[in-house]
Symmetry: C2
Subunit: 381 residues, 2 copies
């Protein structure tokens, strides 16, 4: 059935597509000498992201992981804090927490959005936490829970409205891991702009790419300014002197990479349109399948359909690995959901709730080819 949509050739999962000004802008950097840590394309890329997402401030950085790490720092996450993280996510979400010497606290997702289940989380937090001053403290570990990081899984918006409410109820900072969801909207508002800070990734497998890259977005002017300052070595502007006022980081996105990103953003609408058309074709092809369900965008949401996914019906769960083996062998690149965070050795002892929904999805979900070129490559070769 995948073949009926993608045709007979070898197809990878998500290949970048360069059909605009990519070479032109990148060569412009080389011709002018502006390839490195500052440049007009960095400024433009940040402005473009602000316009697309509606966030007041966007800061281009080296990748999604560094964006998340800085976001956690800026939200005041301290060593030995716990941070609410979905078990079903790419490892970077948990790693960024660990890089702060904090502890991921793993929670379950729900079937429709694949994101954190707000209802289940509310019951759980109500049960396991107590209030100590203005902090929410895990009664069992005694540690402060300082933030939550919902992740918009495969590009589908999580139930971010109820999650924002929960973050207020339990005084948690809210950082949206929107790494996969550029071009995805919840109630017509762009993902990444609901919490204190949001982050995006522009790795090579994402909807648009800068080679490697990411961004921090926020509506808080002070946080935005500090994000730029901390990710660019915390140097105080001066025409020749070298004075740094914080322990800063070098998480800059080079102008060369931003140039690629600016060209890619010019094609974003076309990519999103192509990806919706592909998803719609898949949806139709799988509509009468007795084996699988196709994952569609949640209600009141517009998804970028970053990675299309099918979920084996429970009675066919045991065909999961065989399906992956077979399709990859046939030249159709597919992959499973990530191993859940508690299935990885470094996070197996992290505090966690019952994760039965995540476990069920993880054992049945399969991502299928989703690049914009599958549609656009055919009509405009």
């Amino acid at each position: 059935m995948i073949r009926s949509v993608i045709g007979d050739e070898r197809v990878v999962l998500h290949e970048p597509l360069f059909r605009g000004n990519e070479s032109k802008y990148v060569c412009e950097c080389i011709e002018t000498g502006w390839v490195s840590s500052v440049g007009a394309f960095v400024d433009r890329f940040e402005e473009d992201l602000q316009e697309i997402t509606g966030a007041k401030k966007a800061v281009a950085v080296s990748n999604g992981t560094s964006a998340l790490f800085i976001a956690l720092k800026l939200c005041g996450v301290q060593q030995d804090d716990e941070v609410i993280v979905p078990a079903l996510t790419f490892v970077a979400t948990a790693n960024a927490v660990a890089h702060c010497n904090a502890i991921p606290h793993l929670v379950d997702c729900e079937t429709q959005t694949l994101g954190i289940d707000p209802h289940k989380l509310d019951i759980y937090l109500n049960d396991i936490t107590k209030r100590v001053g203005s902090d929410t403290v895990n009664k069992k570990t005694g540690r402060r829970i300082s933030a939550m990081v919902p992740m918009h899984c495969l590009g589908h918006p999580s139930q971010i409205g109820p999650l924002v409410d929960l973050s207020k109820k339990y005084s948690l900072k809210l950082i949206e891991d929107a790494a996969e969801s550029l071009g995805s909207y919840y109630n017509s508002q762009h993902t990444g702009t609901f919490g204190d800070i949001g982050i995006f990734s522009f790795n090579g497998n994402k909807t648009i790419t800068t080679g490697g890259g990411g961004a921090i977005v926020t509506n808080n002017h002070e946080i935005g300014k500090l994000a730029k300052h901390l990710t660019t070595t915390a140097k105080v502007p001066h025409s020749w002197d070298f004075f740094h006022d914080h322990v800063g980081y070098n998480f800059r996105m080079p102008n060369l990479n931003a140039a690629l990103g600016c060209a890619q953003l010019e094609s974003l609408d076309a990519f999103l349109d192509a990806k919706r058309r592909l998803a719609s074709t898949y949806s139709e092809a799988f509509s009468n399948s007795e084996f699988v369900d196709f994952v569609t965008e949640p209600e009141n949401c517009k998804s970028n359909y970053w990675l299309n996914a099918i979920v084996l019906k429970p009675e066919y769960q045991d065909q999961h690995d065989a399906t992956l083996e077979f399709s990859n062998h046939q030249g159709i690149m597919t992959r499973p959901a990530w191993k859940l965070m508690h299935q990885l050795p470094m996070y197996e002892h992290c505090p966690r709730m019952n994760l039965e929904v995540s476990e069920s999805i993880q054992s049945r979900l399969i991502n299928i080819p989703s690049g914009p070129g599958i549609i656009l490559g055919k009509i405009e070769p």
Copy 2:
């Protein structure tokens, strides 16, 4: 006198020069779609670095700071350890230590190399440390001193031979911050290859650039393998599964940036030659100056002369800022040495020795234009 060397135009401190295959290789990435975290240029760039430096293993990463951070981690630097760092260095050296939640312990440099003074350090360590088991412990703070990070300042090799001896005497790991010294040799051996690990930077202001980038080099096969693994999210190779066995980092150098680097390395010999010729011209121009001394390569060393520097004679020290103001105003980009680490608010309380040589140099040194294009631009426009 600077004008007699560089001519009448506006000249910046160190501009990158692209006169080879830069655009070709970068466009090749875009045409083939291989712009991101793996690719043939990443492999080639690492192999080229191994050949140039003689190191058994080179790992390309996102920048020099991330290279240093991973190097410290791989050398076993723990939270609350102290790490010997020169006071006269770019802030990244101290930041990488702070990123490990360790404490920079600041030491003085000597006039000839601008690097750590091994003789002074030996006397100091002998005085302030005691042996506890196999550890060297700071008697005053009670903290373990676990490593030292000499920095080859402005591209001039430090006295790395005696520093290696000291690292053995005091059981310290030795990480060479060779960020500035690609193409610099101590006793005919490339800088960065003497200690346990060495690091390089390919920021836009360096001898060659990848836009933003760095590398870890080592002669230890196991460390090299782990460096690659940890900087690429610690993913265990598998055709479709996502299993990570460590808290990894995303410090990958994108293929797009490595492509630029491969083209730049093809010009390295020409750049180094041009920079030596420029240094030699400066040296001659300043040879009879009553105001300044020109900084030349140390004995038994070959320097890449990354940034040329003049040092005001002590009696003209008070002309330092005025000289900087005047030359920058005239369109000759000059800059002072970095603020010493203990002059920055986040490191002002770090343990330190008497830093009188660093302080004297810092108040008198001025970097002057040093890009390879100053020579090559003239003869091959």
